[in-house]
Amino acid sequence: MTYLLEASQLSAGYGRATILDGIALALPTGAITALLGRNGAGKSTLIKTLIGLLPPRAGTIRFAGHEIASLPPWRIARLGIGYVPEERRIFTDLTVAENLMVGARARDDGRPGWTTAQIFALFPNLAERAHASARQISGGEQQMLAIARTLMGNPRLLLLDEPSEGLAPVIVDEMIAMLRRLRDGGITMLVAEQNLAFAGRLADHAIIIETGQVTWTGTMAALQSAPEIAALRLGV
């Protein structure tokens, strides 16, 4: 198995608080990995550290042959990592189409990347609301927009922070189908989740973190066939 991203001895935190304490993880290329853990285990912090919004205090992160641990977020994004934040953080002062424009960036290798037309084909709801203010679209549409906006930058790795949060079950089904299609198109993903059922339907691999350390890694199938692991480590 090849790994698109490998981190080791990764530590990070805010002020005097240490949130990540020597994390080691590897994301298999072309697969969806679920990042599981209780509230406060450090899932969001880990994702923010990987995209560079929170500079790590120690450790290394290798992505596709580059050491990215000390790079600013925009450089990391340009190397091919896309970030879909918790709470979506779409630009509500902009229209849907303008949101996509902010994310748009040509591929470094000169090959054709995502076009707005392709994005709208993947997200037909967004096509209808292209010129609406992003403030006025529904929560589900906002989540789709957050993903679409990131896709416009042609990432090889997508970091999704709690994408199912607050969405209706029917929208969640749509999203799972869409994310699996993206994976089949060659995009690697790390999905932070609290919802084990959602992660089980989506992911190929799983990583469990507890109090800032990785305590279990394996395939999603292995995790599902051993419910005592989830009971012990996630309290579900």
């Binding site: 919004l53 925009w74 970030y83 953080r89 630009f91 902009l94 303008e98 902010v102 748009a104 990131t150």
Partner: protein, 602 residues
């Protein structure tokens, strides 16, 4: 009818140049979140550079237009250099430190301009086409004013086009809302910020050079313009270009009519309008509450009672102050009094800004009310000194209570701007109500009977005042205040009436500053409008931030260090530039202040 029309047109003409400067300021603030005090200086540079260019060019309209554009380009480059050289390094610093750094730039640029162009006002020789009039409704109206009236909406339309029809503009708007997210999407913020700053600086320069035909290039532009631009930006809504134009028209037209109808009160009028707008619409005409800006908040330092070494240092300091008149003579006594007054003044600002969490750009208002209160009580009512010293803080406290009742529910930059507005009103009253205050000549001849005795009175009042403030900050009231600053929702849910607490802190702070002002008046024998000027408010800010906002020791150390530094520098050439450079260096190298730095080194 004709009067109404011409005054409106005059107002619209001045609105255009006000708008250019304010638009630059609002765009820069929107994206970088830096309140750029140096924006007025960029406008002033525009006027001087424009003068140098235009006086060398042929005097016809085409060359004039070219010279104006060249000036805007030059100031844009200066702005870009400023962003790359200084501001880029302090985007993560606390808001007030950024403000302080840009004030350092104001001082440096003021002396640089003085050095390059000399102290004289430089009017632009006006060729015939600039002196032409047109007849409107039976009265003569300057042709150039009509040009100005057109330029404002044209620039507004151009900016709106750029911000809505270009990718760069869309990126700028996105970064205004959430700059970290924009970075996470792969946008190089440095380029974006530098270009935004260059655009804003270019607009400031444009405003400066376009105001040249009606006035002159002079060294007063920087602070005059920055105050007006702040007012317009805040009235229009921070970050809103359309709002800035609306506000510029409102203020411009108001001033044009005010000059005729209420000639003595134009300054007051402008700030009253600002205060009314902000009380009714706290985020300005077209502004919105943007909430906390999306960056990780820095850890708040815990405020602890003084330890042994601090008490020892304070004891030694007190002993020096007690012995000063005996050991070093009258000159040292004067400097020591200045230091004591500065200490009380800074400590009072600390109460508001530190534990109270209410930044103030206009703390000199309360100082000034105290100073003038004592002076006028002594002069007009022949009040004896002890009563005047007691009356001044009561007056300042009452004023602070009345103003605070309207504004303490605001926070951050908006609150700071309202305090600035109020300080400007007080200042305008001191300058324009000559009958009562003596105008620029001030109130003179308020001396204590016994200078040495007065020194000990001042010492007792200042040290006592600081100790009372300290006692209050470590009382349950002080704890509640800090709780409300750090977690407003939780404090309110715990049953703390935050508005009442903030108002009490605001009043206490104002009253203490008023006492400092009264002592200052007696030590100088006079009260002047300069006591209430913007730069005096900034002095207080510098003292608090220099010492460090995390503890009461901070402003005390800051006040003594700053007063000493100031007196040393005042004796040198280009002292403003030196002071500015020192402020910039302090912000870059001691972002936690001197006391904070010492705290961390231990």
């Amino acid at each position: 009818m004709s009067f109404f029309l011409t005054q409106t047109l005059t107002g619209l003409a001045s609105a255009s140049s006000l708008f250019l400067v304010a638009a630059g300021l609002t765009v820069i603030f929107g994206v970088t979140r830096v309140v750029n005090f140096a924006h007025g200086s960029l406008c002033m540079l525009g006027a001087f550079i424009g003068w140098s260019i235009l006086t060398r060019l042929p005097r016809d309209p085409a060359w004039f237009a070219l010279g104006v554009l060249g000036t805007a380009a030059a100031t844009a480059l200066i702005g870009a250099a400023l962003e790359i050289g200084l501001l880029r390094r302090i985007y993560r610093a606390p808001e007030l430190f950024q403000l302080l750094a840009t004030f350092g730039v104001v001082l440096v640029l003021a002396d640089a301009t003085l050095w390059l162009w000399g102290p004289n006002d430089l009017p632009l020789p006006r060729p015939p086409w600039l002196r032409q009039f047109v007849m409107i409704a039976g009265s003569r109206f300057p042709l150039f004013d009509l040009v100005l009236i057109a330029i404002g909406p044209l620039v507004l339309a151009g900016l709106l086009l750029v911000f809505h029809r270009t990718r760069w503009g869309v990126l700028v708007r996105a970064a205004t809302q959430d700059r970290d997210m924009v970075a996470a999407l792969g946008v190089d913020q440095r380029l974006l910020f530098t270009s935004v700053f260059a655009l804003g600086a270019g607009l400031a320069g444009l405003g400066g050079v376009l105001a040249l035909p009606a006035g002159s290039a002079n060294l007063q532009i920087d602070l005059a313009v920055i105050t007006e631009a702040f007012v317009i930006v805040v009235v229009g809504g921070l970050g809103s270009i359309g709002g800035a134009y609306l506000a510029a028209v409102l203020i411009g037209v108001l001033q044009a009519f005010g000059v005729v109808v209420l000639p003595g009160a134009t300054l007051v009028l402008v700030f009253v309008v600002m205060a009314v707008v902000l009380v009714v619409r706290p985020y300005g005409l077209l502004g919105r509450d943007r909430g906390e800006s999306r960056t990780d908040a820095e850890a708040v330092t815990l405020q602890r009672p003084a330890g042994l070494w601090q008490i020892t240092a304070a004891g030694i300091g007190l002993a020096l102050f007690l012995a000063a008149p005996l050991l070093f003579g009258p000159f040292a006594m004067a400097i020591a009094t200045e230091m004591l007054v500065a200490m009380l003044f800074a400590a009072s600002l600390h109460v508001m800004m530190g534990p109270g969490g209410m930044p103030s750009f206009g703390h000199a208002a309360w100082f000034g009310i105290g100073a003038y209160g004592a002076a006028l009580l002594a002069q007009n009512l022949a009040t004896p000194m002890p009563l005047a010293l007691a009356g001044a803080p009561i007056l300042a406290g009452l004023a602070a209570f009345a103003v605070g009742a309207f504004i303490v529910r605001l926070s951050g930059v908006y609150l700071a701007m309202l305090t600035l507005a109020f300080a400007q009103i007080v200042w305008a009253v001191a300058v324009q109500f000559v009958g009562l205050t003596g105008g620029d000549n001030g109130v003179l001849g308020v001396w204590p009977a016994d200078p040495r005795g007065f020194y000990y009175v001042a010492l007792g009042l200042c040290v006592g005042g600081v100790l009372i403030l300290r006692r209050v900050l470590f009382s349950p009231f002080g704890f509640a205040l800090r709780a409300g600053r750090d977690a407003p929702a939780r404090a309110a849910a715990s049953g703390i009436d935050m508005t009442a607490h903030r108002l009490a802190a605001f009043t206490l702070s104002g009253a203490t500053a008023g006492l400092a002002g009264a002592i200052f008046t007696y030590s100088k024998g006079s009260a002047f409008p300069t006591y209430i000027s913007v730069s005096h408010s900034v002095d207080a800010l510098i003292m608090v931030l220099l010492g460090g906002i995390g503890s009461l020791a901070g402003p005390i150390i800051g006040a003594i260090a700053y007063t000493g530094l100031f007196d040393l520098l005042l004796a040198t050439d280009f002292w403003r530039a030196r002071l500015g450079a020192i402020i910039i260096a302090l912000v870059l190298f001691f972002p936690a202040g001197l006391a904070g730095w010492a705290e961390r080194r231990r």
